[in-house]
């Protein structure tokens, strides 16, 4: 970011939530970069920016789409980059129909399942080499999009193309038409952003993109927590590709993540739908290992995913060792199968149905931090047993005695059957191991002291639990126990009995199993083989333990290195710091400009070179035209910089991979104060719904009862607190700095509702009632949207109701409902509707009564707001295809 000429921070309050990272924005600004903050609230990020652009929460696709339109209409796109490095010239199937043709839907929508048949979104080919596209319903079920955390899905090998970009079926022309209705006036109408602000933003990013200059975007959960969150990021990706800002210094789109190893816990996932290295978890229809491999990639496709067989076999060898043999498909059948989404919210519903007996909570606090807090706590009361492992006595461990439902009388402690175990955890300095930070950098932490009392690391606890489970099953003849008994679980122990985290890292890295190098660590995933001669627990991490050296612990001081600092920690893959950096050079391999030089082709040496590790086959010359029959890395042409994409190109149009549309289109949130100005289709037609009595939705604008919940609310974090508070509300320093729950409102709203500064307010949503202190501020502006005055309320979400923390308070997440993005199953928790009134909330049963009274007044039912398709003409059009 320090190398950017313009930085747009949108969906993030970086200065307050990632303050130390923000020094690089400050540094860029000191060197002359322009910084723009787009956010509903004026924060310290806005204060340090050149301009703050206030926006209505949830309308970002309109603003970004209008920027795309501006770039295309005014011919401001980076011609050479776009024609060579993106799929702009590719042709799309004749069957594809856009939102322009279908009033806000794409072709293939099935109102029965609420999903798309994506076959019409495919590339147009003159052969039949393309993989059969998977139906959106099954792709959504396994959260397919996330398995592309390190690369794209397979597509037809030889799409037809038109390098003049004039054919109406080219991606370029489809894009142009799709965004033509995203005008500055539409931005003003939908986002509440003035035309003047829009023009400033458009001018800033286009003047600071091209050969000589780059623009960078940064976002956080302000973009992800929406029913079309993944599409927010896609819209920015399209814009950055058009401007030629991907794979270049000072370019890109920075995801500012909120936990120390949230990137690591996706790479090596404690997630239902993926295995380490973004290999998918198999679904029930992948009956054979070949079915599984075919679902990931074809051997014929371009790029490094074509070697998924080597990565998969190496993983199976790492887990099941000698029991993983060619005769049993490397123990593929030891892996359980998915039958649909089994994410945290689906699991919550399963708890409610008494289908889940035991639940482990490991350093997370869902009673406070997950949407619809009441449902979270009620769900836990259905468990037979609950294990909470944390540093502090968090609310997720004590809801059975001091939660809000105990106070309201909805639950009685003496009726709750759930057994609860609390295990104290070790802190980050009481164990050694790696965190992967937000730019894919693994950093080793050395152990400073041993854990006190009963405190244990997760490594110790789960290793021990695994040993006990295996011992109890030692005599079992049941085939279902074989995967546990055959599991490689013999990690060396330190003197204190803790398993060696370095040995685990070495297993993750992988090793040779046969030949003269047997036992030696792999240096790169290119050494992995599908024949059982290598093992490796997470292929993208291979190299972190190359030559038996823990490179995550590399610590050459920053001041002794260049800006890339490649000897501090280790970044996946292959210690590359900027992904797709082949795109930092032009098609001939020369840097786009001296100023933005990073990786270039050294003709004399016959290699790519530069300060970073080249993200490309190092000896593949720029003009290389591959053998048309080649597959995998060998099939990459000299101008295919996006080496993890199956066509080597950056995708303006996504023929696969997204379940809710090949191009981002704006839909309103599940709860919204306006009618969608873009299309007759109001919310995302593929959003994932939870129509339940304990998860009601406010009526859409224009429907009866909408006025009962007239105000928008959004949530955010504070510098001095951390997420649901488990690591901050127990620290006296931090508790004193941010002691209590509050709501930020404009003076206009305070006046309208008679709210006193520093007094109390009660907030009621269709799910819950909470109270908060009132902070009247001009940092939250009311906006003119769709001809109306829209008030937004800001709520930090760190507090929870309990009795152990230094500071407690009502939880903003209690107000939130559960409606999910269908790609990634993340909830929409940045936009909701509520009412606000002066005074404290009622206590006891009266609190529940107040929520019910609002629900009745608004006439809420489980159907309210949960229609998939809102265009009354859709059925008519279906019958009359003309």
């Amino acid at each position: 970011m320090a190398n950017a000429d313009c930085i747009v921070i949108q969906g993030s309050n970086m200065a307050e939530c990632h303050p130390v990272g923000f020094q690089w924005v400050a540094e860029a600004k000191a060197r002359g970069a322009r910084v723009i903050h787009v956010d509903p609230r004026f924060t310290r990020t806005s204060a340090s920016a050149d301009r703050h652009v206030p926006i209505r929460a949830g309308s970002d696709v309109v603003l970004l789409g209008a920027l795309i339109n501006h770039v295309l209409q005014n011919d401001l796109w980076f011609k050479e980059y776009v024609t060579s490095y993106t799929n702009a010239p590719f042709l799309i199937s004749d069957d594809f129909k856009d939102t322009e043709d279908l009033d806000g839907l794409f072709s293939g929508y099935d109102p029965e399942t609420g999903h798309y048949d994506r076959s019409s979104w495919a590339y147009k080919t003159d052969d039949d080499a393309g993989a059969e596209p998977e139906h959106g319903a099954s792709a959504s079920g396994r959260a397919e999009g996330e398995s592309h955390g390190s690369g794209g899905p397979p597509v037809a090998k030889r799409p037809m193309r038109d390098d003049t970009l004039q054919d109406p079926r080219t991606v370029f022309q489809i894009l142009k038409r799709h965004y033509s209705r995203y005008t500055p006036e539409m931005v003003q109408e939908t986002c509440g952003v003035s035309v003047e602000d829009f023009e400033y933003l458009a001018r800033s990013i286009t003047e600071n993109s091209g050969r000589d200059r780059t623009t960078c975007f940064a976002y956080a959960v302000g973009w992800t927590q929406h029913t079309l969150g993944a599409q927010f990021i896609r819209t920015a990706s399209i814009l950055q590709l058009l401007l030629g800002n991907m794979g270049r210094p000072g370019g890109g789109i920075m995801a500012l993540r909120g936990h120390a190893s949230i990137q690591g816990s996706t790479d090596i996932p404690t997630l239902f739908n993926i295995l380490p290295g973004y290999l998918p978890m198999p679904t029930v229809d992948m009956e054979t290992f070949q079915d599984y491999l075919d679902s990931i990639a074809s051997k014929q496709q371009k790029g490094f995913w074509a070697n998924a067989d080597a990565y998969s076999v190496s993983l199976l060898k790492a887990w099941w060792g000698e029991a993983s043999q060619p005769e049993n498909n490397w123990a593929y059948d030891y892996i359980p199968r998915l039958t649909g989404p089994h994410g945290t919210y689906q699991t919550l519903e399963a708890m409610m149905r008494d289908e889940v007996e035991g639940y482990f909570i490991l350093g997370q606090n869902p009673a406070v931090g997950s949407a619809n807090g009441r449902m979270q706590r009620m769900g836990m009361s259905h468990l037979k047993w609950l294990v909470v492992r944390d540093l502090n006595m968090i609310e997720s461990a004590t809801w059975w005695k001091d939660g809000p439902e105990i106070a309201s009388g909805e639950m009685r402690t003496e009726d709750i059957e759930t057994e609860v175990f609390f295990f104290p955890a070790a802190t980050h300095v009481e164990k050694s191991g790696t965190f992967t930070q937000t730019q894919r950098l693994l950093q080793w932490r050395h152990q400073a002291v041993t854990p006190p009392g009963d405190c244990q690391s997760e490594l110790k606890f789960f290793h021990d639990l695994g040993q006990r489970i295996r011992a109890k099953l030692a005599d079992s003849e049941d085939p279902r126990d074989r995967p546990l008994l055959d599991l490689t679980w013999d990690y060396p122990l330190h003197d204190d009995g803790d398993p060696s985290s370095e040995a685990v890292l070495a297993e993750i890295n992988g090793r040779f199993l046969t030949g003269e190098d047997a036992g030696k660590p792999l240096s790169t995933f290119n050494q992995m083989k599908p024949d059982g001669s290598t093992s490796g627990g997470c292929w993208i991490y291979t190299g972190v333990y190359a030559d038996g050296i823990n490179h995550a612990a590399d610590r050459m001081p920053g001041q002794e290195q260049d800006q890339i600092a490649s000897k501090w920690g280790w970044a996946w893959p292959a210690n590359r710091r900027i992904l797709y950096n082949r795109a930092s050079a032009d098609p001939e391999g020369k840097p786009w400009s001296e100023r933005k030089k990073l990786i270039w082709w050294d003709q004399d040496a016959g290699r790519w070179t530069g300060p970073d590790v080249p993200d490309f086959p190092v000896d593949r010359a720029p003009g290389t035209v591959p053998d048309p029959d080649a597959g995998g890395p060998a099939a990459l042409a000299g101008d295919d910089p996006f080496i993890m994409q199956s066509d080597g190109k950056g995708w303006l149009f996504a023929p696969k991979g997204m379940v809710d549309g090949p191009l981002p289109a704006h839909y309103e949130a599940q709860e919204s104060p306006v009618v969608n100005p873009l299309y007759p289709q109001q919310p995302s037609p593929t959003r994932e719904l939870f129509p339940r009595g304990d998860n009601l939705t406010a009526p859409r604008y224009g429907q009866a009862g909408n006025e009962v919940y007239p105000y928008m609310f959004t949530t955010y974090r504070l510098t001095e607190q951390h997420t649901a508070g488990g690591m901050s509300r127990w620290l006296p320093y931090l508790a004193e700095l941010q002691p209590e729950m509050f709501c930020e409102i404009s003076a206009e709203l305070a006046e309208e509702r008679g709210l006193e500064p520093y007094g109390w307010a009660t907030l009621v949503s269709p799910r819950a009632v909470i109270e908060a202190k009132v902070l009247v501020t001009d940092r939250v502006v009311s906006l003119d949207v769709a001809g109306r005055r829209i008030h937004q309320i800001g709520l930090p979400y760190h507090w929870g109701v309990g009795s152990d923390a230094v500071v407690t308070g009502d939880s903003a997440n209690d107000l939130m409902g559960i409606t999910l993005d269908p790609n990634v199953h993340i909830q929409e928790s940045k936009v909701g509707m509520c009412d606000i009134r002066p005074g404290r909330r009622p206590r006891g049963e009266a609190a529940t009564r107040l929520v019910s009274e609002y629900q009745q007044r608004a006439g809420l039912t489980v159907e309210t707001g949960n229609e998939r398709v809102t265009d009354p003409d859709l059925e008519l059009r279906k019958e009359d295809p003309s």
């Binding site: 909120g258 120390a260 003496e414 175990f421 790696t434 400073a448 599991l487 006296p732």
Partner: protein
Amino acid sequence: MARFSFLEWPVVRQLRTADSTARSSATVSEHTRELTSRNATADRVVQSVCPYCAVGCGQKVYVKDEKVIQIEGDPDSPISRGRLCPKGAASEQLVNAPGRQYEVLYRAPRAKDWQKLDLEQAVEMVADRFLEARRNKWQDADDKGRRLNRTMGIAALGGATLDNEENYLIKKLFTAAGAIQIENQARI
């Protein structure tokens, strides 16, 4: 303590030295000179990484008598260049928080409060329950006879605050046990 000397009176020092405005050496007593920072007394300094957000700021952990006495920013880190935010700067208190839990606690069904439980016994109880829940909600195949090999009786939540090595063991053990409902903060 050095012997009292009239010459060491601050005002005399101020007059007899070049520091006539008393903003420098005249204000420094022997006591002040003998003071050292708490960190200088540490037995060792260990390199670590901040446990809060994902910026990954470098930390230096000062240990004395096997206790963490302070945690500060690591100037060598090319990411953070020695800086920490209020949370990172407070992380010594995360380790030594007055309310931190050090004991295993157990709440029996319908019980109104916690009771203490031996660590070994607690892990043994969890292992028994793990196997029972796994058995009770086991699914061999779906209604079309296709292989499932899984249990729906066990779920887990959390991982973004843990180490890669820990997440690796958790995912490995759960998958081998057939437990698929495993999630973390990345889904939020």
